[in-house]
Symmetry: C2
Subunit: 344 residues, 2 copies
């Protein structure tokens, strides 16, 4: 464990939980919201509408939901995401479900808040591809339905990009899954998990997975101040065949953000909530199955070779972290009567 800690960048906060002292925590029923953006029904409704609106991408084909599909596991089932005009980047889309429980956003923690994150993809040329946020809001402002929704949500007629981001973030804070089998087990329903899942749960702590994947969201970020990246070197142990096989070391991770060599291969510890429904795995999506993913993790992060039975038990436990997903109504996207909104 000392070795692990030594490899972590000094700029990084590490939440360390000993296997023996593991305290299992259920997910809160409500996600925390920052003081300057309390969650309201009007903001959530506006945010959901914007989240599903592909017309705020250059081609009119990519919405937030395209890559972070809430009807799936909050991701897109792809190794890397696909933006406008079929372009792809090098990383997979992290799930939006329970993203509210992160202390920073993106694989490299480059955005402090959900509000900050929401604006990024809109103007990323290989994601939603809009030239700038003014053009995004120009499209939004052209639709009367949005005017009313912004007014209701924010009490003024400004319709700014920051308001749009606040609304999207407010919606995302409703995308949580606090009633999984694991949660019910932790709250006292001892029948909620199978005996195999309980075995996996104990193993998860014994092996030291909880060193990073701790707390209610299994991301080590509970109680961490918003804006503080909780990062880990991945891969930590490189003397194994996985690193080459799955190309695990070529993405510089946090180093791309800070420019510091010390930050090479540092990535945000991802939540394990809904991990069974968000294949393929890791920042580059190169690992297709969860069974393989836990073996890769054990080897590259803990230098442990799992046997088949251990891997199966861990997977069974991780499956207990799935859903249930709240039923949602579809938003109705506003229009400009009789006029094209998407003009490339």
């Amino acid at each position: 464990m000392k070795q692990l800690l030594a490899m972590i960048s000094v700029s990084t906060l590490v939440v360390f939980t000993s296997a023996h002292a593991t305290s299992w925590q259920a997910l809160p029923d409500k996600a925390p919201a920052p003081a300057n953006n309390p969650t309201t029904a009007a903001k959530v409704e506006l945010g959901k509408t914007l989240y599903f609106d592909p017309r705020i991408s250059s081609t009119g084909t990519v919405s937030c939901n395209s890559c972070h599909n809430v009807m799936e596991g909050g991701d897109d089932s792809r190794p890397n995401s696909m933006g406008v005009n079929g372009q792809t980047g090098g990383r997979g889309a992290p799930t939006v479900w329970n993203a509210a429980f992160y202390s920073t956003q993106f694989w490299d923690g480059r955005a402090n808040t959900l509000e900050d994150q929401a604006k990024g993809p809109m103007t990323n040329p290989i994601e939603m591809g809009m030239k700038n946020h003014d053009l995004v809001m120009q499209r939004v402002r052209s639709m009367d339905g949005y005017k009313t929704m912004f007014k209701t949500a924010f009490g003024d007629s400004k319709m700014t990009i920051d308001q749009a981001a606040m609304a999207i973030a407010a919606y995302e804070r409703t995308l949580i899954t606090p009633d999984s089998a694991y949660d019910r087990y932790v709250k006292g329903d001892k029948k909620a998990l199978t005996s195999q899942q309980v075995k996996g749960m104990n193993l998860f702590a014994e092996l030291g997975c909880t060193s990073c994947h701790s707390g209610p969201a299994f991301n080590g970020q509970a109680g961490v101040k918003l804006g503080t990246p909780v990062l880990m070197k991945f891969p930590t142990f490189t003397d194994n065949s996985y690193v080459k096989k799955y190309d695990l070391a070529s993405d510089k991770g946090r180093e791309n953000v800070t420019g510091k060599a010390d930050d090479n291969n540092l990535f945000r510890t991802p939540t394990l909530r809904n991990i069974a429904v968000t294949a393929p795995y890791f920042h580059n999506g190169k690992v297709v199955t969860l069974d393989e993913a836990v073996k890769v993790m054990a080897k590259t992060q803990l230098n442990i070779d799992l046997n088949a039975s251990q891997a199966k038990n861990l997977v069974a436990f991780l499956e207990s972290l799935t859903g249930p997903f709240p039923q949602q109504t579809m938003p109705r996207l506003p229009v400009t009567s009789g006029k094209s909104v998407v003009v490339e």
Copy 2:
């Protein structure tokens, strides 16, 4: 009028309504379903799930809903639709709302039924891009959730592409908008339309728009036997500036299907239901506003130059054909636990 009729291909059925005898009809509260595919709740639920599932496209990014977005006007706000890898074709996506009231499907009527239509885009290389329907169903079969849904909907475990198409068609038959301002007006609520809309409605009949756009769906296809294309030459009158300006004559329309020169430029008469929320206009989406679209129609189909006031009144009437759209819940897309579904 004689001139119009003379230009119509003999292979085409034409429903002709004199302006003076126009009978205004409300949309039925239920769409007709073929005897071999009665609409059931289980089929509709399965169909909705498949309709929203992007994983049955090669890239995992394009679902039926991508181009026929039911959260919008049932289309995609684009001049031409965009399929996998950013590819585009030459035509715009017709709205799925009220598609159940067509006697054939596609702009050129090349599919007889909604069931036939549903299968086309899946294997079209520039739409959903799957190599064949077996591969589509291989992905669907890999997900346990779908197994249950097919079993419930069809009572067997076959999971065929035809069953998938039947389910999608069943869902689409629920996508109707029978309670527009126009419908309420026709049913007796004389306050449902503004005086301008009533002016536009009368003008619509007087000018002869009802020659083609007749019946409850304004597509001349009420009572027409399923599988019978109702087509019209567009443009009929070519001696005007619109044909060149909007490139109206280069798409051969029905001729592409039959190979017959007589079928050149023949297109299915589209519904006018929700036309105000489905800009841009016509098969090629070259006309950006509804105001311009009615002028183009009057000139190219009736050889009439509308003045500004006439166009405005017609647009006001057409706006009365919008929605309301039933609220829908989002489907939850099945998964294969811990395994990638999309493998290109």
